[in-house]
């Protein structure tokens, strides 16, 4: 059977599974629709959270990013896992005890203010919508690469699938499809990784293989040596900007992770407070399987690529000797296949019919001199970072069904995250805005209908944005973390850990944190990302504040949020007694009932 047929079969089977689950897990009440009836097993919830969490970007792009940045890729690895420690200890169990349906609902009740709730809805919508644009484009890209349909068609198919289980099943349908999607995506990620690790190091566990030997010397030492010899930065030590920037970026991703509403609400679906605690642990176990494999895939695929185009890598011979660069005509089949997609490009600058892959912009004079002496006229191979994961099974010469599995895995990752975000968006609209602010008297069946209609509209909006991505689509995901970390995370945390924090303080804090973050990001990328409206001079040039990238500014936003909140709190009157009693009661597990909307 040819690859295309197998891919259609495997992807088709996975879709049939999701739809089957959707049919079985229809939601009949608002409790089922918002929080899956509050009866999800904590291990299952951990798996669903992992699928919710790991997006198309985690699955397809992260290993490539790490391969590019080397040590610098650490910010994503630690940032997107360390946040779960914060979530497990500082937020999840207390919000579960509070026992309502949404994050803005907690903020509204705790700060006894519809204003606070509305600000929280606003932060949630901005964070979730920016995040979902990336997912929808990811769905389109995944479909077009794997199934050979157009991106537009891919987005329509994706919308159709999500529609079936999200509109009818709500959180219940989403939860159980996410469990299935996790299984598909983790299998798809680890199988090729095990084989590439076996090929290169003889160790089947990628986590150990990365610390193992390649041809008699440590793999990482070999990689460091090869890339520096070719003029690239040393793999294991190159920082991302300054140490302060690395630090700040990691903090920003961690608190953003803990503050993202679509992740927090997953912990409203388990029966008890103690389940919320342990469920966060399971979520991180399932996430860590992929996140500890990714750096191995990154380093191994990078070394493998160098070894493929330059035979001196394996023999430890002279990288610059003419005969060691492979002839273009003799390149392996997988390179030919990926050239068609444009993700791999060859340009024979010196006309010798061989591929020279090195950093022609290096500052290292010795490397320059060697390249000149060898008659190299510039780097001839351009590799899109996504290739490292997408082409991995082909590079490792795995059977076609594994390649098909990777396709299903990439789609599972994109669809599961999109569904989780859609859930957060639609419940913010139907529960927080319609029921909470505009029409508190709405009946349960009308609210359920409103929830389903909001979900359907959210899918259409997401699809529209995926089809017509605003110019700023790239890089918006990082902004979602900045917003969640600088506005929602501090507000929720103070709501639990500071009994005296009042409504004025929390609102001023959220607005200040959000403003600082948006100000710095807009200064670099334009007001609301409109090209030409950048005002980077006002912040002292590119990365003007302490050399921190705009994606890492959420940390400063959070500090400002805390500072403003405590200052305002000091000069305004303390919260009423019943609110202080509410804080007392959410701090202890005893007496947690099922999540309710009342």
């Amino acid at each position: 059977m040819d690859l295309q047929t197998i891919t259609y079969l495997v992807v088709g089977a996975s879709f049939a599974l999701y739809i089957g689950i959707a049919f079985w897990a229809r939601a009949g009440s608002t409790s089922e629709f918002y929080v899956a009836g509050g009866g999800v097993n904590p291990v299952m919830n951990g798996m669903a959270t992992a699928a919710d969490w790991m997006s198309a970007a985690s699955f397809i792009s992260m290993a490539g990013l790490i391969a590019n940045f080397g040590y610098g890729g650490t910010v994503f690895l630690m940032g997107w896992t360390g946040g779960y420690v914060l979530l497990a200890m500082l937020l999840a169990p207390y919000l579960r005890k509070f026992g309502k349906f949404t994050v803005p609902e907690f903020i509204g009740d705790r700060y006894y203010s519809k204003g606070a709730r509305t600000i929280a809805v606003l932060c949630l919508l901005v964070a979730s919508i920016t995040y979902i644009i990336g997912q929808m484009t990811g769905v389109g890209v995944a479909f077009s690469r794997f199934l050979g349909v157009t991106k537009e068609m891919g987005i329509y198919i994706g919308m159709g699938i999500v529609f079936m289980y999200a509109v009818f099943g709500g959180m219940k349908g989403i939860t159980y499809t996410q469990v299935a999607q996790y299984c598909v995506l983790i299998l798809a990620y680890t199988v090729p990784a095990i084989f590439i690790s076996l090929n290169l190091t003889g160790n089947p566990l990628p986590q150990l293989g990365l610390g193992g030997d390649f041809g008699g010397e440590p793999l990482l030492a070999k990689l460091d040596q090869v890339v520096t010899d070719l003029g690239f930065a040393e793999y294991t030590t190159s920082f991302r900007g300054s140490m302060l920037n690395t630090f700040s970026y990691t903090v920003s991703l961690m608190i953003g992770t803990a503050g993202l509403p679509h992740v927090i609400v997953r912990f409203f679906t388990v029966p008890k407070v103690s389940d919320a605690r342990v469920s966060a642990g399971w979520a991180l176990v399932f996430i860590a399987i992929l996140y500890t494999t990714a750096p191995a895939v990154a380093a191994m695929a990078k070394l493998n690529l160098h070894a493929t185009v330059n035979t001196a890598v394996k023999t430890s011979g002279d990288l610059f000797a003419a005969e060691n660069s492979i002839k273009y005509d003799e390149r392996p089949d997988w390179m030919k296949r990926w050239e068609v997609t444009g993700l791999l490009k060859f340009n024979d600058k010196n006309g010798d019919g061989r591929i020279q892959y090195y950093n022609d912009k290096t500052q290292n004079e010795a490397v320059k001199a060697k390249a000149d002496a060898a008659g190299w006229k510039g780097n001839e191979l351009n590799v899109n970072a996504d290739i490292l994961v997408l082409a991995n099974p082909e590079i490792a010469m795995l059977p076609n069904w594994v390649i098909a599995l990777v396709a299903a895995g990439g789609l599972a990752a994109a669809l599961s995250t999109a569904a989780g975000l859609l859930m957060a968006i639609s419940s913010a609209v139907s529960h927080d805005l319609i029921k909470g602010v505009f029409n508190p008297e709405i009946s349960e069946s009308s609210e359920l209908l409103a929830g389903k209609v909001s979900m359907a509209l959210a899918i259409v909006l997401a699809g529209y944005l995926g089809l017509n991505p605003p110019g700023f689509a790239a890089g918006t995901v990082a902004l979602a973390f900045g917003i969640a970390g600088s506005s929602l995370f501090p507000a929720i945390m103070m709501g639990i850990f500071s009994k005296k924090m009042n409504s004025e303080g929390a609102m001023a804090g959220m607005l200040a944190g959000l403003s600082v973050t948006l100000f710095y990001v807009f200064a670099h990328k334009g007001i609301f990302f409109i090209k030409g409206t950048e005002f980077v001079d006002m912040v002292g040039g590119n990365n003007g504040w302490f050399g921190i990238e705009p994606n890492a500014i959420g940390t400063l936003g959070a500090i400002v949020n805390f500072a403003v909140a405590f200052t305002v709190d000091k000069f305004t009157k303390e919260p009423p007694a019943h609110i202080q009693a509410l804080v007392e009661s959410i701090r202890v597990p005893k007496g947690a009932g099922a999540a309710t909307g009342h």
């Binding site: 200890m89 150990l208 610390g211 103690s274 860590a288 500890t292 005893k590």
Partner: protein, 83 residues
Amino acid sequence: MQDSNGYWAATLGLLSKILVVWFLVSYVAGILLAPMLNNFHLGGYPLGFWFAQQGSIYVFVALIFYYTKKMGEIDRQFGVEED
């Protein structure tokens, strides 16, 4: 009557202990001291790099399960566990 102050103090004590470890493995070993730790090796891994891309994640997982276990004990000690 529950001793809610005692319970909350015990909880905060546990959280502080865990957050110190959390900070040490990620920000100290994985970032601030990483260049220095890279002079040591764990198998083929430079140690600072290992903390940054592997070790810190394993410790995060262990910390959450440790927290879950200890919180369960504190809940029972103060009689505020769920039924």
